[in-house]
């Protein structure tokens, strides 16, 4: 075996967004030897980009709010496909997690009486999102980062993990990766591994996600024998920028609508009034006047339809554009300029103001924005135990966007940041308990490490081959066209075929230059995860023959109660590895206890 740098820890956490940082803080505070590993510099993970806020039923603005209302909103938003236990823990624990951030130095915006201010967001009955203007993610990641650094956590930044390693009994026992700044390989042994690697959005052409969102964690978990669930549930956020083309996909926070912004088509009509599904009719305003009263007092009118859950709004925008009522660049108009004063807009939405001014030359205090759906978030992910974050293979834990279940088939805005805190902590505790109880030193297979290293270096040895950027861009075009916001059976079959071809091409990449900070090489190591995850999404989408939440089938436009009782579980037979087949099997949802079921009956 080639000599490479190696480290031994009790717990390693892969990912330093909100979930990973919170998990690592937990295991360090337990006195365990902990490593925190990330692909970018510390503090740059996707979490930093979150804008609108963190959802927690603190009741600071509406006393009526409590965890039960939050739980109910979350389940209904997810079209009841959620893991009810996760939704319950999340709603119960989010307020404490937010207060904990405050005690660690976060400065949230305040109410008049000095408490944490909360703002409205889609699908939340009450103003519930604690926030800092429209840069909440920055506040969250910086607070956790500063906390982690002050605790002396070992951070491995710009260190990319390629594969998880298991011992002879199939327990996850470490990982192997490489340092981007040197190109040198590094291996870890650990008693427990926490995946907190974020999302998958980079496989679509128009996305709010960064280069990091290649689904490495999802793929590595699957390759190690863990189950994934609900991978077809991908959220297209209704409002991404559409123009100029080079910024297409960049997010426009839902906070714009929470703070009074409305959607209009080319005819100036607030078209969302025409798209209210039965499920939400009773609590949605019927006229513009009623909707407008609601902003000032939630008891004086019902919610504006612009604040329906994201899947509803994204599909409606899509229909308007298809119906020929779109904006010049193929979106619709998001107008806050005519509804709020320039001062309010600049104070409440400073980074949106800045973003449109600098990137599109649009002054949002004077003009409407052009927006359209953008690939944003994956609800599906590693199947975990709600209380501990344990995956279905021993030694492996997952939290944050990489974990599945919490959000069902559609996530409410603000529920991700709270998810990171609640389940980051729980996965940290689960992994710590497991590490403390694990007997003997974890062992990994040296020959396996050699193979992984050799595979990853192969593109350097091919004289001629494909440019990985071309393959990535072909993948993105294909996923956008065939596995996008509206899907049909025949297109999904085509997508699966094309994914096979892309995989073959990905095995023939060639790379120039050296190993030191070589983004082309890095991309060749991303492609296997992007392709595996894309396949999972397409397989789930093919087999879920209904429309639910983020998954919409043109050929099965309605929700089917039978499909409402199952998760689609994806797994590879143990030892399947990167090449292995992926099986999809329907399995029943966890049964919700009666006292929670009651929350969904009439009168609530």
């Amino acid at each position: 075996m080639a000599e490479i740098e190696s480290h031994d820890y009790d717990v390693i956490v892969i990912g330093a967004g909100g979930a990973g940082l919170r998990a690592a803080i937990e295991s360090v505070s337990r006195g365990l030897r902990t490593a925190l590993i990330c692909k970018s510099l510390l503090g740059k993970a996707h979490t930093v980009m979150a804008e609108g806020g963190v959802a927690a039923a603190m009741g600071n603005v509406y006393e009526e709010d409590n965890w039960k209302v939050h739980f109910r909103d979350t389940m209904r938003g997810g079209k009841m496909l959620n893991n009810w236990r996760m939704a319950e823990l999340h709603a119960q624990e989010a307020p404490d997690r937010v207060l904990e951030l405050e005690a660690w130095g976060a400065l949230f915006d305040r109410t008049k009486d000095g408490k944490i201010l909360q703002r409205d967001f889609g699908g939340h009955r009450y103003a519930r999102l604690a926030h800092v203007g429209d840069r909440t993610g920055l506040e969250l990641i910086r607070t956790l980062q500063q906390r982690a650094v002050s605790m002396g956590i070992d951070v491995f930044m710009e260190c990319k993990i390629l594969r998880l390693l298991s011992d002879s009994e199939g327990r996850v026992s470490g990982a192997v990766g490489y340092w981007r700044p040197t190109g040198e390989f590094v291996s870890f042994t650990a008693k427990a591994v926490v995946l907190a690697s974020g999302g998958v959005g980079k496989s679509w052409k128009y996305t709010s996600n960064s280069w990091e969102s290649t689904g490495d964690g999802h793929a590595m978990a699957l390759w190690s024998g863990a189950d994934l669930i609900d991978m077809e549930a991908v959220q297209f956020h209704p409002t991404g920028m559409v123009w100029p083309l080079s910024v297409r996909g960049i997010l426009v926070t839902e906070g714009v609508r929470g703070d009074g912004g409305v959607l209009r088509n080319s005819e100036g009509e607030r078209f969302m009034f025409g798209y209210v599904a039965d499920m939400f009719r009773a609590e949605t305003a019927e006229s513009e006047e009623e909707a407008d009263r609601w902003y000032d007092d939630h008891t004086a009118g019902r919610r504006p339809p612009e604040l329906l859950p994201r899947d509803e709004v994204a599909r409606s925008i899509n229909s308007e554009v298809k119906g020929g009522r779109g904006s010049p660049h193929g979106g619709v108009f998001l107008d806050i300029a005519s509804r709020r004063s320039p001062e309010v807009i600049r104070r409440r939405l400073p980074s949106m103001y800045h973003q449109f001014m600098e990137l599109a030359g649009v002054d949002i205090t004077r003009e409407a924005m052009e927006v359209g759906p953008t690939c944003h978030y994956i609800m599906g992910g590693v199947r975990v135990d709600a209380d501990t974050g344990a995956a279905t293979v021993p030694g492996l834990f997952a939290a944050g966007e990489v974990a599945g279940g919490m959000h069902g088939s559609n996530r409410l805005g603000g529920n991700s940041l709270s998810d990171l805190l609640v389940f980051g902590r729980r996965a940290g505790m689960g992994a710590s308990d497991y590490a403390e109880g694990r007997l003997g030193d974890p062992s990994v297979d040296a020959a396996e490490i050699d193979t992984i290293i050799a595979d990853s270096l192969a593109p350097f040895t091919r004289e001629s081959g494909e440019n990985p950027y071309t393959i990535q861009s072909d993948l993105q075009e294909m996923m956008q066209a065939l596995v996008g916001i509206i899907r049909t059976g025949s297109e999904l079959d085509t997508a699966l075929e094309k994914l096979g071809e892309l995989r073959e091409r990905a095995e023939r990449t060639s790379i120039k230059g050296g190993r030191i900070y070589n983004p082309g090489w890095n991309l060749t190591t991303d492609l296997p995860s992007m392709l595996t995850v894309s396949r999972c999404v397409a397989l789930g989408a093919r087999d879920r023959k209904e429309s639910r939440g983020g998954h919409t089938r043109d050929d099965f436009p309605k929700a089917d109660p039978e499909f409402g009782k199952i998760n689609l579980v994806l797994r590879q037979p143990a030892g399947g590895g990167v090449e292995g087949d992926i099986k999809v099997s329907p399995e029943p949802l966890l049964e919700m206890p009666d006292e929670l079921k009651e929350l969904f009956e009439e009168g609530h």
């Binding site: 970018s40 510099l41 510390l42 503090g43 740059k44 993970a45 996707h46 930093v48 980009m49 207060l99 405050e102 005690a103 660690w104 130095g105 400065l107 915006d109 305040r110 000095g114 408490k115 203007g133 840069r135 993610g137 920055l138 506040e139 500063q146 906390r147 650094v149 002050s150 951070v155 700044p181 960064s210 280069w211 990091e212 100029p244 083309l245 080079s246 910024v247 960049i250 997010l251 001062e343 600049r346 104070r347 980074s351 800045h354 973003q355 600098e358 990137l359 599109a360 440019n467 950027y469 071309t470 790379i511 120039k512 230059g513 050296g514 030191i516 900070y517 070589n518 983004p519 082309g520």
Partner: protein, 256 residues
């Protein structure tokens, strides 16, 4: 037809130089878009950092036409005609191409003692918006490190680095000093980490993409506090309490 020339610094710690890439411009592009197009075609090994592409993460700092800029927020059509030069930040050691070794900043971050509030009273902490406004300004920092890059105390003086935290951390000290709940006193440390070496040139404030008034709102008040600490602990306490009156009239009005 190629109508733009990008003059990109390529190299490693051993040396390097500018290389020209000719491309066709596209509407609305920023410098980072063009760098990405070069990566996807001519130079897949061209090293640069980025994450958010929206000015929120502070990864893509570089020197565009000689000035520190976020590449993702610099529109091509707003740069003067002629070749656009893109070089790595000068104050930090080169790793490769546009990527520098910014670990200096992460080492400095370790020296800042943690936030240390008194335990919360019954019903939780209460803070007024007006009292946290200044702290929020400092917490907008996206750690692009461009202020560190331009600060002359370290830009061309490697020898000063071990004893100089730099503007990014002066605002961190100031933020904690002005936090309504914090109990630590970090003025001694700010002094040890070079606050006195700053001679208020304001270069840092000029480059900050978050428009943080680093010099006026953090460095100068901190310098005053350090002086107070030496002569008059009572005046320091007074400042802590009266902090809210130091907002400018413009900011007070802006809060509506």
């Amino acid at each position: 037809m190629a109508d733009i020339t990008m003059r990109v610094w390529r190299g490693d710690p051993g040396g390097g130089g500018f290389e020209d890439y000719e491309l066709q411009s596209q509407e609305g592009e920023v410098v980072l878009d063009v760098i990405h197009r070069i990566q996807a075609t001519d130079a897949p090994d061209l090293a640069c950092r980025w994450n958010c592409k929206a000015g929120k993460c502070g990864s893509c700092s570089a020197e565009v036409n000689g000035k520190p800029r976020l590449m993702c927020m610099t529109r091509m059509d707003q740069l003067p005609e002629g070749p656009v030069t893109v070089a790595p930040m000068r104050a930090f050691p080169i790793i490769r191409d546009l990527v520098t070794d910014v670990s200096f900043n992460f080492e400095m971050a370790k020296k800042v003692p943690a936030f240390d509030p008194a335990p919360p009273p019954e019903g939780g902490y209460r803070m007024q918006q007006i009292d946290i406004e200044r702290g929020q300004e400092f917490r907008k920092c996206i750690e692009c490190f461009m202020c560190q890059d331009v600060c002359h105390v370290i830009r061309d003086h490697e020898e000063n680095k071990p004893n100089y935290a730099g503007p990014r951390f002066f605002i961190r000290f100031a933020e904690l000093e002005m936090h309504p709940l914090d109990t630590n006193d970090r003025r001694e440390l700010a002094k040890e980490l070079g606050l006195g070496m700053c001679n208020i040139t304001k270069c840092c404030t000029e480059v900050c993409p978050e428009h943080i008034k680093i010099t006026d709102n953090a460095i100068i008040p901190m310098k005053e506090r350090v002086v107070d600490a030496q002569y008059d602990p009572v005046a320091w306490l007074g400042r802590k309490i009266l902090r809210r009156h130091k907002l400018t009239a413009e900011e007070a009005a802006d809060r509506g």
